[in-house]
Amino acid sequence: MQVTVNGQLVQATSEISLAELVKEKGWQAERIVVELNDVIISRTDWVHCIMKQGDKLEVVTFVGGG
């Protein structure tokens, strides 16, 4: 299955939860925020959130800024 992450197509296991996807990809769970199809998913809901083909994820993090 393919999902879009930050505008790029990414391969993911079918029926995977958001929590599993974050783990599989090695993202720093405690340092990122995820929007799924324009809705913010709180970290505690990641395990209940099952990804579907074509889902659109925005994964954001903090960088240096003034």
Binding site: Q8, G26, V63
Partner: protein, 258 residues
């Protein structure tokens, strides 16, 4: 000694806020924060680079600092609100620096959109510190919108040009019943001291430190300047006079008076 700054129930001892952008390496940031004695530190929110998912500025900010994400990249109120909500979902607190910019040459903020975003986010419980062009009416509307402080620019972002808007900031300090924090443009410690002597509640400095040859040393210099300026303001500087006024007695000279 200088009084602590009160914002939204927080008591902040350091009136030097710092930004974390443009440093040659993130590893210098903890040293800069320590040298500046900074307690409020700004960061930006961006898409994670999926090829480098380990990079995160928050790992370089000491625990105990207030992290103030900015809404840089937002071109209108709606985008700023979205960024603020994402920042809050990170679990790094509820402070937000509103920055709405649609001008690419001077990066001047859009006060009208900033006011809209401030109102929505203050109602949602954010501690909102809006970056703005120093304008009295806009500042009054920010007060009504629920801002926790008002942050006028001294000069365009990243220019190191100093307090070009000094007179307008002075008016805000006089008229606005919220802390006035000079954000953007301050290039040298003397300019930070000047803002503080005038009664600014704090200053926010980034580029001046990040682009200095020795960011840690200049952070220390800024900390001293901000402290000196604040103490001077609280001391109440003497009045400015047009003509000379002798400091030594005008009697008892070693000659006969005529």
């Amino acid at each position: 000694m200088a009084e602590p700054l009160k914002i939204a129930g927080y008591s902040i001892n350091s009136r030097l806020f710092i930004g974390t952008g443009k440093f040659a390496s993130n590893t210098i940031i903890p040293e800069v924060i320590a040298a500046a004695s900074a307690e409020v530190v700004t960061v930006a929110l961006r898409r994670m680079d999926i090829n480098f998912p380990d990079e995160n500025i928050v790992n370089f900010i000491p625990k105990g600092c207030i992290i103030m994400p900015n809404t840089s990249g937002a071109r209108n109120a709606e985008e700023a609100i979205r960024i603020a909500r994402l920042a809050q979902a990170s679990g790094c607190g509820n402070w937000i620096k509103i920055e709405v910019i649609a001008d690419n040459r001077y990066l001047l903020p859009d006060n009208q959109e900033t006011i809209k975003a401030t109102e929505v986010l203050a109602n949602e419980g954010f501690v909102v510190l809006p970056y703005m062009s120093p304008d009295l009416m806009a500042a009054r509307r920010l007060v009504d919108a629920g801002a926790a402080a008002v942050m006028p620019l001294g000069a365009p972002i990243g220019t190191n040009r100093g307090l070009k808007t000094k007179e307008l900031i002075r008016i805000l300090i006089e008229e606005i019943p919220l802390p006035i924090i000079v954000d953007a443009g301050i290039g040298k410690p003397s300019e930070a001291a000047e803002a503080m002597e005038m009664g600014a509640a704090a200053v926010l400095v980034n580029t001046a430190m990040a682009t200095a040859q020795n960011p840690v040393a200049i952070a220390k210099a800024f900390a001293l300047a901000v402290k000196a300026g604040r103490i001077a303001f609280e001391a109440g500087p003497g009045a400015v006079q047009a003509y000379a006024n002798a400091s030594s007695p005008l009697t008892g000279f070693l000659r006969e008076s005529l």
